[in-house]
């Protein structure tokens, strides 16, 4: 029996030893991890940015996902850049002029500029880029639309570029298109196959140094950036596939800035020391769209929208019965601005209604009056019938991926009930919403668009000519709506070179959409962000003071980042944490030892009793 005892005693010891090793292996990196931030503080700091969505490619001709295009904004300066207040400011071009017919744009390229590899940056690079997109269909995936109206491009001399357009246009054709270095790209046998993700050459404040797929992207400051090199050594993007993890990483000191927070995450970060939160004005609108009787490009009815909604009075009554302010405070917890037209407040020159227009205000009694007068009779049950005497019921569609849609739907259902219109609500997948809205298969649905600084595109998709084919292919229509008077306004603003006059026409056009009650803008949601203010300051918001740092039209936000000097950081940062306090490590080690010891003791005791039994 003793004979049996010894080996099992040994195996017990072996097991205990293995367990202890495992425990130490688990704890060791934790201890090692606490030393990491100290190392990082020694080196010149780079801002660590959390990104949530995947990167498709860093080839600027092909990149379409928001993460990639957002990073490429740092890499390539445009001909003309959006300023801190979304106004046009010099980019590669320091001044430009437009011919009186709006068809010839001449850009002066700033003298003495260099690419990040010290090669000169001239009008040749710009001309090469424009022509590459124009002539090579394989390079049109991302920016083909930007050069569609460009007839020819010519570098008159190293500092003069002339763009000739097919039709006059008021919006500056120098925006948005990333200008690439000719000397790098012309060497590529097939530029559409060039990955452009290692030691890249750029003209913006940062250039891509390395890219580890699915893990991180490293950008370094470009010493030749014409506005002067950034004050940080670079940007390091790290993937966090959900914002909850990104928030923990911010608290943990793994990243320095996180965007796209939910209201709950935002609130949880508000009072953390060393962290600053920002509720920035967003550039996305959320609206209730009403089907005006969709018609396809061939003029045939499209989809299955309730025919009663073709009456503008019914649509206006619905808009009147929706209390935007309540939706903003109750559903969005006040984290946004009340909606006016489709142009959010971050674009002050285009936002707001045309002079003389009074927008409908929330008024249930008024809405009921409108409907009574228009002949929508109320039955004994309080529900209305349409003009042909059939019961009037409507459907409301929203995205199941957005919790605010379901919440808004409950409110809207209540209000429409008060004006005698029963509502069936369905929350479906985003792709289903896209499909059904394109094909006019809706009565009401919640929609939203992110809006760029120039209103032309958003207006263009409301023209009669933007209606889709019967199968949904062809052009994209925002609201399945058509009004020749609107088309005339669109065309007028499209070629109006006087900025003030154009802004006026734009407001008139957007006001028409509101008046037609086809797309009632509920709110512009704020964008919620947070960053480690114990490590970096100087982030520039767009628009100035009220806007966002991440996801700008431009590079201002992170280009402005300034490291908090080492002295202040150490005095400010002690309480706040990037590592873990020493006593926690001690506690963890003690706990591990106690647990291991207890397990060993218990098994030995059990073994002893078992042996006794035998």
């Amino acid at each position: 029996m003793t004979d049996h005892h010894t080996p099992s005693g040994r195996s017990l010891l072996r097991r205990a030893a293995a367990f202890a090793v495992a425990a130490v292996a688990l704890a060791a990196p934790a201890v090692a991890g606490t030393t990491l931030p100290a190392h990082a503080a020694d080196a010149a700091p780079a801002v660590k940015v959390a990104i949530a969505t995947d990167i498709d490619t860093f080839n600027p001709f092909l990149a379409i996902l928001a993460s990639s295009t957002g990073i490429l904004r740092f890499q390539y300066e445009n001909l003309v850049q959006y300023g801190v207040n979304n106004e046009p400011v010099p980019g590669l071009s320091d001044k430009w002029e437009t011919s009186t017919d709006g068809k010839t744009w001449t850009y002066h390229i700033r003298d003495g500029m260099k690419w990040s590899d010290n090669q000169p940056l001239t009008a040749d690079d710009v001309a090469w880029t424009f022509n590459a997109v124009k002539t090579n269909p394989a390079l049109q995936k991302a920016n083909g639309g930007l050069v569609e109206n460009v007839q020819s491009v010519a570098a008159k001399d190293p500092s003069t570029l002339e763009l000739t357009l097919t039709a006059p246009q008021a919006s500056n054709p120098g925006f948005e298109l990333p200008i690439v270095p000719k000397h790098v790209w012309e060497k590529q046998a097939d530029p559409s196959k060039y990955a452009n993700d290692t030691d890249t050459v750029g003209s913006g404040p940062f250039t891509i140094k390395s890219y580890q797929k699915g893990v991180s992207v490293q950008l370094v400051a470009n010493p030749n950036f014409w506005r002067g090199p950034a004050k940080v050594s670079g940007l390091t993007y790290a993937y966090y596939k959900n914002t909850d993890a990104a928030v923990q990483a911010l608290k943990n000191g793994e990243v320095d800035i996180v965007g796209s927070l939910t209201p709950a995450q935002f609130t949880s970060l508000k009072d953390q020391s060393g962290i600053t939160t920002n509720q920035g004005a967003g550039r996305r609108y959320t609206a209730l769209a009403i089907n005006p009787g969709a018609i396809d490009a061939q003029g045939k009815p499209l989809g299955d929208g309730n025919a009663a909604l073709q009456d503008p009075v019914l649509r206006q009554a619905i808009v009147k019965a929706v209390d935007k302010q309540t939706l903003l405070t109750r559903v969005l917890q006040g984290l946004g601005k009340p909606g006016l037209t489709e142009m959010p407040g971050v674009y002050p020159s285009y936002t707001g209604y045309a002079p003389g227009y009074t927008a409908p205000t929330f008024d249930i009694a008024g809405a009921n009056q409108l409907l009574d007068r228009a002949g929508y009779a109320k039955g004994a049950d309080g529900n209305r019938t349409d003009k042909s005497g059939k019961p009037l019921t409507l459907r409301l569609m929203g995205r199941n991926s957005d919790p605010t849609h379901a919440q808004m739907a409950e409110f809207v259902k209540g209000w429409l009930g008060q004006i005698g219109i029963p509502l069936t609500v369905s929350m479906v997948t985003p792709n289903q919403v896209n499909d059904d809205s394109t094909l006019g298969k809706y009565d009401l649905y919640f929609t939203g668009w992110g809006i760029g600084p120039d209103p032309d595109f958003q207006l263009s998709i409301n023209q009669c000519s933007s209606r889709p084919n019967a199968d949904g292919s062809g052009a994209t229509s925002e609201n399945n709506w058509c009004d020749p008077a609107f088309d005339a306004l669109y065309k007028a603003q499209h070629t109006e070179l006087d900025a003030a006059k154009r802004a006026d026409l734009v407001k008139q056009a957007f006001t028409m959409i509101d008046k037609a009650a086809i797309n009632s803008v509920v709110w512009y949601a704020d964008t919620l962000e947070a960053w480690r203010s114990d490590k970096f300051t100087g982030f520039v918001k767009q628009p100035e003071n009220t806007g966002v740092v991440m996801g700008q039209n431009g590079y201002w936000g992170l280009y402005g980042a300034t490291p908090v000097s080492a002295d202040t950081a150490s005095s400010a940062g002690t309480s706040s944490s990037s590592g873990m306090p020493g006593w926690v490590i001690g506690l963890v080690i003690v706990a591990v030892i106690v647990v291991v010891g207890a397990i060993i003791l218990l098994s030995m005791r059990r073994r002893a009793t078992a042996a006794d039994r035998e």
Partner: protein, 357 residues
């Protein structure tokens, strides 16, 4: 039971823990007693048929998703003309008839070409190859630990059934089994990353560090801990329960009485006699589950930002990036089918009773 439906590849098998009765592994109606080559041929044939069905199903099911025109979805919200959308559709081959697309897809597949991703401008096989490593590291580690832990605890629990150890272990394991993976993952993240700063909140290595060698391995281990703990906690119960049931079945067997009569210590009776026999049904079960485990990694990868196949599939769904979706679907399914095939073979090899007669 021997052929898991394709959908199992994409979700943890939530159906419940196998009861001892059907834990016995491969299809009982199989060609018991036939010759080994014939047995293999029949099983391999079955596996190939499943694979062919997966290919067909994968192709058509992703095309009937609502909003499934990738050319429109990829250009949504950008300044793009109708002509450009048409050009993209042509480039993707979506302007051809469904049948023509299908035969082109199958033809490519037979030559080992999974196509080119719509979004990433890269071949699907290279994309999958890049992400397969991290997924295998995560699921392999988790499988190894959960199998070892489950089997060890299972046989101990069975040996002392009804004891506090048995009750505690089965209770704990079943509690973790019932917990949703993403919830457990988020809680661990909140406590160990956000609160105590013990582990990183995501990723496979520290972003922006250029560590090599031992430091790199340590860094990866540090990142691996929380996702592995989450996966292990959620799945080890199935191994524990099956092992426990198997050992219980063996405990009343006559050969154990014989062993005890020889004067063997209880420990030896258990480790030398009961456990080897109880392992028989368990081993095949392990292979049946390992396939599913890889699919189950999708959730864990999303919670812990692990750069694996799961997130690739998730991203591909939004376009939808049809070639990539089909590719990951085929790869996930092939793993499951292959593992089932291995389980069938192993069972035959391990159980002498199947060879005789």
């Amino acid at each position: 039971m021997s052929i898991a439906p394709g959908s199992d590849a994409l979700a943890r098998d939530e159906a419940g823990i196998d009861t001892p009765g059907d834990a016995a592994g491969p299809d009982e109606s199989g060609p018991r007693g036939s010759t080994l080559p014939r047995y293999i041929a029949v099983k391999a044939g079955g596996a190939l048929i499943s694979l062919a069905m997966v290919v067909v199903l994968g192709f058509f099911s992703f095309r009937i998703l609502p909003g499934s025109d990738p050319a429109i979805n990829l250009t949504r919200g950008r300044q793009v003309s109708a002509a450009e959308v048409e050009r993209l559709r042509h480039e993707f081959g979506l302007d051809q008839s469904l049948i023509a697309q299908f035969f082109r897809y199958v033809g490519d597949l037979l030559t080992g070409n999974l196509g080119t991703s719509f979004v990433y401008n890269q071949s699907v096989s290279s994309l999958i190859a890049e992400k397969l490593g991290p997924t295998l590291l995560l699921t392999g580690t988790a499988a190894l630990i959960s199998i070892t832990l489950g089997l060890w605890l299972g046989q101990r629990a069975a040996w002392r059934r009804g004891s506090w150890f048995d009750k505690l272990q089965t209770g704990t394991a079943l509690t973790f089994w019932s917990v949703p993976t993403f919830w457990l993952g988020l809680i661990l993240l909140l406590v160990f990353a956000g609160m105590f700063h013990l582990f990183p909140a995501g990723g496979m290595t520290t972003a922006g560090s250029d560590e090599t060698g031992f430091a790199y391995i340590l860094d990866a281990l540090h990142h691996l801990t929380l996702p592995v703990v989450t996966m292990v906690a959620v799945v080890y119960a199935q191994y524990l329960m099956v092992m426990r049931a198997s050992v219980l079945e063996e405990m009343s067997a006559d050969y154990l009485t014989t062993a005890r009569a020889k004067g063997l210590a209880e420990d030896k009776v258990r480790t030398r006699h009961a456990v080897p026999n109880a392992l028989l049904p368990t081993v095949t079960l392990i292979f049946l589950h390992v396939g599913g485990l890889i699919g189950g990694a999708v959730t864990v990868e999303t919670v812990f930002s692990w750069p694996g196949l799961g997130f690739l599939t998730f991203t591909a769904l939004s376009a939808p990036d049809l070639p990539l979706l089909q590719g990951t679907f085929v790869v996930f399914s092939t793993i499951v089918i292959l593992m089932n095939f291995v389980a069938d073979l192993l069972y035959r090899v391990l159980d002498p009773r199947l060879k005789a007669a």
